[in-house]
């Protein structure tokens, strides 16, 4: 459903006012170097709109805050002027002149006007800057808290420290060689990124994927979800000082990683995705062993989660902490488990099924409290569902080839694909030109969910921030690209 009209903005605004969800706003350039703005909206079906830009265009942000960061990026990267946008400060490049030579890197960081944070003042208001370097093995990002006593009254994010120019790196590479780049966007869910990229190419170039490859992809995607949730649940326990549970969670995650390495050769399914299929088959014996390990890990994890969530000190810290209200979650267009913990029933596997999920019954857990506990419960339920799906998929992997034999990259096309990554809807939009990628836009779930995080933090004490942040567990690199 692609419409090439001058009426895109009005159509998108109407859909959003009618309750549709904004998925992405981004730019590209046409043959003459003129910017084009693209909108993707979800109103039951995905709808895409694009318009060439010759003059300032109206901003969607006053209609939905979900457009805020998208339009800031559009403005910064493509120079598109957005009328009515409340905040067009640079997002991705920190006081560095664009295209500054690399050898000038010792000086570049101090050029340009200083970034201005919102100033909060009043009796007893204190500002606490945190990051970019954090006290742990964590990605870099900056948090600017305004507190009164221990209470957070305002939080501003300053991210994109890990911005690497990834989307630009895609431009001009052969379509096939985009996969290792996609795998390095967000390293702990690299397989979701590989599959989303490959599917976008497959849609664009009408490449059929053999059923066995689709099955193996779904196994990998569900295993990745289990890895994320089991590890994160343990880490959440660690953040409230429950170290035994944290150690058990990390131990179970390690068992799954070792099983992956044994089954497909890499721990995080890196290098497994391929356009038109997958690069590694799973043997019958390998499938049996993986299924056994997954079910054993799930049994242990279910007990662990039950016991942890019945522990009073855990309940005390998880319950009513970091509440993200449903309306706020909707306004920011949040996706994935963050949305499902705030009463929004959304899951790309069920709502826009792809690959092997087309024939599968997907249970979507739903909680309404929007607190750390709700997000922990979504993780527990989804781990159970993923374990069940892996067993079913491995049980009935179709026979046949694992990759498409004939692929014609020569056609110039554009398309997109979304997958439900462990963090939520992950979307790749690609445009091919002469067997190469002309443009690739990555809308990660983290980019979508980060702006909602401060809304869950305000009103809490600053000591609960690490816990709330962990309960979202957003990727910095996936957001920053």
């Amino acid at each position: 459903m692609t419409k090439e009209t001058g009426q895109s903005f009005a159509a998108v605004a109407d859909l959003l006012r009618g309750g549709a969800r904004l998925v992405a706003v981004f730019g590209s350039v046409d043959d003459r170097g003129r910017p084009i703005v693209h909108y993707i909206v979800d109103s039951g079906d995905y709808a895409t709109f694009s318009d060439p830009v010759d003059a300032p265009i109206p901003s969607l942000t006053p209609i939905t805050p979900a457009a805020g960061w998208h339009e800031r990026e559009l403005h910064e990267v493509y120079g598109v002027v957005l009328d009515g946008h409340p905040d067009l400060r640079p997002l991705m490049v920190h006081n560095t002149p664009r295209n500054a030579p690399v050898d000038g890197l010792h000086g570049t960081q101090t050029d340009g006007p200083p970034y201005r944070f919102l100033e909060v003042s009043g009796v007893g208001v204190c500002e606490v800057p945190v990051g970019p370097v954090h006290a742990g093995i964590i990605e870099p990002g900056h948090f600017r808290f305004s507190v009164v006593g221990d209470r957070v009254i305002h939080l501003e994010l300053r991210h994109f420290y890990t911005h690497k120019g990834t989307e630009r790196l895609f431009e001009g590479t052969f379509v096939e060689e985009g996969i290792p780049i996609a795998e390095s966007v967000s390293g702990d869910n690299c397989f979701a990124h590989a599959v989303a990229y490959c599917q976008a190419v497959e849609h664009a170039l009408k490449i059929a994927v053999p059923p066995r490859a689709e099955g193996i992809r779904a196994v990998g995607l569900e295993l990745e979800r289990m890895l994320a949730h089991v590890g994160d649940f343990g880490a959440l326990c660690g953040d409230v000082g429950f170290n035994v549970a944290a150690a058990q969670g990390s131990g179970l995650k390690e068992i799954l990683l070792q099983a992956s390495a044994e089954c497909v050769g890499t721990r995080y399914w890196r290098g497994i995705g391929a356009i038109g299929g997958v690069r590694r088959d799973i043997s019958a014996a390998g499938a049996r062993k993986l299924a056994e390990t997954v079910s054993a890990v799930h049994r242990e994890f279910a007990e662990l989660a039950h016991d942890a969530l019945e522990t009073p000190s855990v309940q005390d810290r998880f319950e009513n902490t970091g509440i993200l209200r449903q309306q706020v979650a909707r306004d920011f267009g949040t996706v994935g488990l963050v949305a499902r913990a705030s009463g929004i029933s959304a899951d790309i596997r069920r709502d826009h099924p792809y690959g092997a999920y087309r024939g599968l019954n997907i249970d979507v857990p739903l909680y309404h409290d929007g607190d750390v506990l709700a997000r922990a419960r979504v993780r527990v339920d989804e781990t159970k569902n993923s374990a069940r799906l892996i067993a079913a998929l491995l049980e009935s992997l179709p026979q046949g080839p694992i990759s498409s034999s004939k692929i014609d990259y020569s056609r110039d096309r554009k398309s997109f694909s979304a997958v439900e990554s462990p963090r939520g809807e992950l979307l790749y939009w690609i445009e091919t030109r002469d067997t190469r990628i002309a443009r690739c836009h990555i809308r990660s779930p983290s980019f979508q969910n980060w702006p909602a995080l401060p809304q869950a933090v305000i009103g809490n004490i600053i000591a609960d921030f690490p816990l709330i942040n962990k309960s979202f567990n957003l990727s910095y690199s996936g957001c920053d690209r």
Partner: protein, 273 residues
């Protein structure tokens, strides 16, 4: 409930992987190895062509029929192994973790079927050396200079009950001021350049810097990307390199211990002078 939790811990038994199984182990990383006996011009050319980074180079008639493999640029994608077996195979053990930058580079004479630079040290020798290092203490500050979080995931795994890095007297500290070693991941992004330098300066001397991952060693897949300043050694003096994309926990343990040993050797030899 807590008693259930403890019971489960006891029931789980000992999970910790013995040090002998960790050192030199690289399974799950898909680092390639080359069998010189099976190496031909055709296979070498195929592998070089398939390599998505410039980890493999040479093999063209003009390049004196030499094949070069730089583990610092290798992302373990496995393409060379797919297209150029049996000359290329998954490495069974790995001695190239925690070495100097030039120690990551191997070279073969294709027509003579021999390796030109001999292997730095046999895994057995590395094991012996490293065993002599155990019982020491080391504080590590991990620094993400712009990585994709893949290396972080594996570094975090070092603290799980299977690897239990603390048994070697090594632990991760929150402040660079408490650290002996900076473990730096990622290509250094321009946006992180200042913070990376400031963190390095906050570590008291003597200090060790170890670059981790293909990106940390060479920029990896992000070499030359528009918002990337360069590999770690573009900004900091790096003492040792741990390649891999990402390096497995076993490669990290090997590399950290070896870097420590190497620094120790350097210090004592400079004292002798």
């Amino acid at each position: 409930m807590i008693s259930n939790m403890l019971r489960r811990s006891l029931r789980g038994g000992v999970q910790v992987i013995p040090v002998e199984q960790l050192l030199g182990n690289c399974s799950g990383s898909r680092m390639p190895d080359v069998d010189p006996a099976a190496l031909t011009q055709t296979l070498a050319e195929k592998a070089v062509l398939a390599c998505p980074t410039s980890a493999l180079s040479g093999a063209s008639p003009v390049a004196e029929r030499h094949l070069t493999l730089d583990y610092g640029e290798c992302i373990g994608c496995g393409r060379c192994i797919e297209v150029a077996a049996p000359a290329f195979l998954e490495a069974k053990s790995f001695a190239y973790s925690g070495v100097r930058r030039d120690g990551l580079v191997r070279r073969w004479d294709i027509s003579a079927n021999t390796e030109l630079i001999s292997v730095a040290a046999s895994p057995e020798r590395v094991k012996r050396q490293i065993r002599s290092m155990l019982g020491r203490a080391l504080n590590i500050r991990q620094l993400d200079a712009g990585s994709c979080n893949g290396c972080e995931a594996e570094i975090t795994a070092l603290t799980n009950p299977h690897y239990d890095l603390e048994r070697f007297g090594i632990h991760f500290v929150a402040s660079p001021k408490h650290a002996d070693m900076l473990l730096v991941t990622g290509p250094v992004t321009r946006n992180m350049a200042n913070a990376v330098r400031a963190t390095f300066e906050a570590v008291p001397a003597p200090k060790l810097v170890v670059a981790v991952g293909a990106c940390g060693c060479s920029g990896g897949i992000f070499a030359g990307a528009s918002a990337v300043a360069g590999p770690v050694d573009a900004l900091l003096p790096v003492d040792a390199y741990i390649p891999g994309c990402p390096p497995t926990p076993a490669m990290l343990v090997t590399g950290i211990l070896k870097a420590l040993r190497q620094a120790d050797g350097m210090r004592s030899s400079s004292k002798n002078l």
